[in-house]
Each structure stands twice: as C-alpha cells, then as structure tokens.
C-alpha cells in the first residue's frame, strides 16, 4: 500500500516545524543541534516525495547532498560544542551570551 504523496509532504512539513520549534524552545545546544538535523531530514523527505511525484531522479540525488552536508555539520558542530563545553562547562545556549548589543 502506498501512502499518497500529500501525506508525505505533510509529514515533512510537520517534522520541519517540530525541528523549528525545537530550535526555538530547547536550551541545550545539543538538542538544538538535533532539532536542526530533524529539519534537514524533513527536507530529505520532501525531496524524495517530490522526486517520486515528478518522476525525476534529481530529487533522490539531492538527498545525498543534504545527507553529506548534515553529516559535516554534525562533525563540525559537535567539535565546537565540545570546545564550548570545555571552555564554559555548559552547553546551555542561554548561558552563552558574552556577546551582545
């Protein structure tokens, strides 16, 4: 049984929105980071769905790019977060507010 495309898209939108909300409400840098990953995966879902809808493979191809990008992001992101933790002994984004104005 195939789920109709609009449902996939709706799911993608919901996932994206969830990630978005996560970025806004969570305090831990790690969780914020994960929320962004959720958003990127929502993008992937959208790509795949549209590729199916359009019958073009480009969409699936794009997913790989996004995946790679997400992976790189994780690598860099975690490294920075670790450094931040080492320097400030916290990963709470609300505590990282030396710079302002």
């Amino acid at each position: 049984m195939t789920v109709p495309a609009p449902y996939h898209l709706a799911l993608s939108a919901v996932l994206f929105t969830l990630g978005m909300v996560g970025v806004l409400v969570r305090r831990s840098a790690l969780v914020v980071f994960m929320s962004i990953e959720v958003m990127l995966n929502a993008v992937n879902l959208a790509f795949v769905t549209f590729a199916r809808l359009r019958g073009v493979v480009d969409g699936q191809l794009l997913v790989f790019f996004v995946l790679v990008v997400a992976a790189v992001e994780v690598v860099i992101g975690l490294a920075i977060i670790v450094d931040v933790f080492r320097a400030m002994e916290t990963v709470d984004v609300d505590d990282v507010d030396l710079l302002r104005g």
Binding site: F50, D58, E73, A87
Partner: protein
Amino acid sequence: MSTADLVLVGPELVLTIAAVVVLLQDAWATGGVLEPQTPRPAAVWGSLAAVGLALVWDVGGRRWGPAFGGMYVRDQFTMIADLAALAAAGLGILLSSAYLPRVRLPAGEYHALLLLATVGAMVMAASGSLITLFLGLEILSFSLYVLAAIARRSRRSLEAGLKYLLLGAFATAFFAYGIALIFGATGSIDLREIGAARPSRLLGAGIALLTVGLAFEGALVPFHAWAPDVYEGAPLPVTAFMSVVAKVGAFAGLLRVFPLALAHLAGVWGPMLAAIAVVTMILGNLAALFQTNLKRLLAYSGIAHAGYLMIGVAAGGPAGTWSVLFYLLVYVAMNLGAFGVLLLLARQGMEADRVEDLAGLSGRAPWAAAALVLFLVSLAGLPLTAGFIAKLYLFRAALGAHQPVPALVGVLTSVVSVYYYLRVASAALSGGAPQAVAVLRNRLVGAALVLATAGVLWLGLFPAGFTAAVQQAARQAAAAVR
C-alpha cells in the same frame, strides 16, 4: 565529467588542492602542535601562491561555458565574483600573517579553511543549479564556522562559532527546504529551467525559503542577528575575511537566483527585496551609531552594506546586477583595508578593537592613519573613493528600475553612516596615543594595505575599465539565462 569541465573549475580546484596541501604540510611541519608560536611562511606563501594561480587561471584563462551538465557555469559574471573572492582571500592571507603567530592560531587550519571558504563563495557565484548553490553555501559557511571558533581558548571566539553554527544551520535548513519546494514546483533544480517554469504558489514558497538562506549569509535584516556577535567574537583576521567573503558568496548567489534566473518575476521579488534592503540599511546604520567596539561597529556597518548591495539586487536587470558586482569588489578592498589597519594595532598583545585604541595613530603611523581615513571615507560613500562610485551605480540602478525609495533611504542612511565612520577617523587623527596600544610593523600587512588603498583609489578615480567589465559580465549572464 570531462577534462573541459576540470579546466573550467580549475580555480576552485587549485584552491581546494592547496587547502589540503597546506593543512598536511603544516601538520607535518609542526608535528600537530595546534598553537604554534612561530610564523608559518610555508602556509602563507603556499596559500598566496594558490590564490595567485587561481587568479591567473580565472582572469587570464578566459574560458567560458557550462560544466557538469550545466550545474556549474563559468562566465564573466563568475570571473568578476571570483576576482572579488580571490581578492578577499589574498588580502585576508596577507593581513593575518602578523596576527596568527602573535595569538598562536593554527596556521595550517586557518589557511586551509580560508581557501575553502573562498572556494565556497566561488562555487556559489558559478552555480547553474540550486544544488551547486547549496554546496557552495555550505562549503563557505562550514569553513567560516570553524574559522570563527578557531581561537579555541577564547570564550568569545567559541561563542561566536557556536552561534554562527547553530543559526547558520537553522537557516540552511530553510534554504534546503526551499530547494525542495522549488523542485516540487518545477521538477528541476536547474536555474534556467526554474526561470522558465510557470509561477505557482509552491514555487513562491520555495523562493521565499531560498531567500532566507542567502539573506542569512549576507546578514540581511531580519536574518542578521548573528553577525554582530560573530564578528565581535571571532579573531580579528577571521572577522575581516568573513565580513567580505560571505557577502561575495551570498550576493553572487542572490544575483544568480533573482535578477538572472527569475528575471520575469521581478515585479514580485523586486519590492520584497527592496523592503529588505530598506530595513537592513536603516537598522545597520542606526545600530552602528554608538558602538565603541570597532569590530562590532564594522559588523553593523557590514549589515548596512548588505542593505546597499540589496538595492542593486532588488533593482534587478543588468544595471542592478553589474552595480552589485562592482560594489562587491569595492567592498572587499575598503572593508578589508579598514580591518587591516586595525590588525596593525595590539593592546597588550591582544586585539585593539576599541575606538579609543586608535587615538593618536596619525602621530605614530601617519600612512596607516591616512589609509584608514581613506577606507572609512570610502565606506561612508564619499566622493573621490570607490565607495562613492559604487553607491552611485546602485542608486542609479534603483532609479532606473523605478525604485526611488531604496535609493532615498540609501543616501540618507549613508549620511547617518558618516557619523560613525568619521568619528572613528577623527579618533585616529587626534589625541594622544594610549600607552597600552602598540603599532606593529609588518611588510605583508603593509602590502595588503597598499593594495587595498590602490584599489579604493583606482576604482574611485578611474572606474571606467572595471565598469565596462562588470557591465559586459552582467549582459552576458543575463543573455545566457534568457
């Protein structure tokens, strides 16, 4: 992939290879010490050589055409944008040569990332499809994330890196979603095909989200909030380089998308981008008025300049396109020049980034002070400098596109900007020099300043040649997508 394709992406290729080589050589030479105290001439000269080679390849090569099935486009537009990006890289390398060993930043990583960021901006400028744009954007921003946080022992630097990373990634997600929606609406990610597609609501939504990612990188309001914090927190040479290279990439991308690919929708995006330009100019200039930290001041100034650049994008058409291209190179020269003078100063071994640190500079280093004044005057858009000509082109484009409002706001906010630029300039020209601040002598930094000065003066007094080049580039690029 053919040899022809490789020849066309040659400049990017050179830089990428150089980045890897520099990284490895440095690691090998230092034995992995992350905080070296000695200069690393190999990294510096290697990177410079790579930039030079890329420049020669780019400008001297004069090979145009699409590569990789149209995903990559090398044309005169690319060449001009590359010129700006490479200028940013070259000046950035020269300017940082004194700073890096002084505050013990890892030279290999620094130079490798700097070269990669340049590649990112160049790829964005050369994108024939949204995926190339996406890739370029990510290459650019990842490098910058790391560069911002490269001073690992500085909490400010780390904070800058973290904020930049999280917000950047957040914006990237929108950008990617935008690509997905456009793909959904048109079935293609090729910019030419998107341009030919029938407008739809879905396409509109996709374009809207696409705008977000680019506007974030360009620090346009309301996606600008990262910029002041990151600029302030990042090490000074990084800030300097970042402030220009991100703009080159972002605005090259914006030009590729809006005036070039989506020319027929100008009636829709024109007013929107104009509105962004207006609020960006206003916010950037007003918030900069009372800044006492020079990096932060220049950050807001950078936001303001993003607003000016956006005037050209919003105006669209060849005139808008070429005036933005012109402005980008000018901006590279004058902004890096201003930062370069700051890099000559050190307060107790640290960055001298307060306005009062500049006091009495004219007495200690008259040429540097004069150069600083020139750059600030140019940033303020006052005549006899390139900044004026560049702004004139932008305002002319706006009026030509029947958009008087951005032009008016542009000139009026330029007047506001004079306040903070010349406040800094008079600080440098008067008063007694503070004891704690030392003025460094460095040949490479000096060379960078001379180059930037020459650029600002040359483009201000004799802009005809470069103007013709950017006009030609804009016409060619516009014709190619039509």
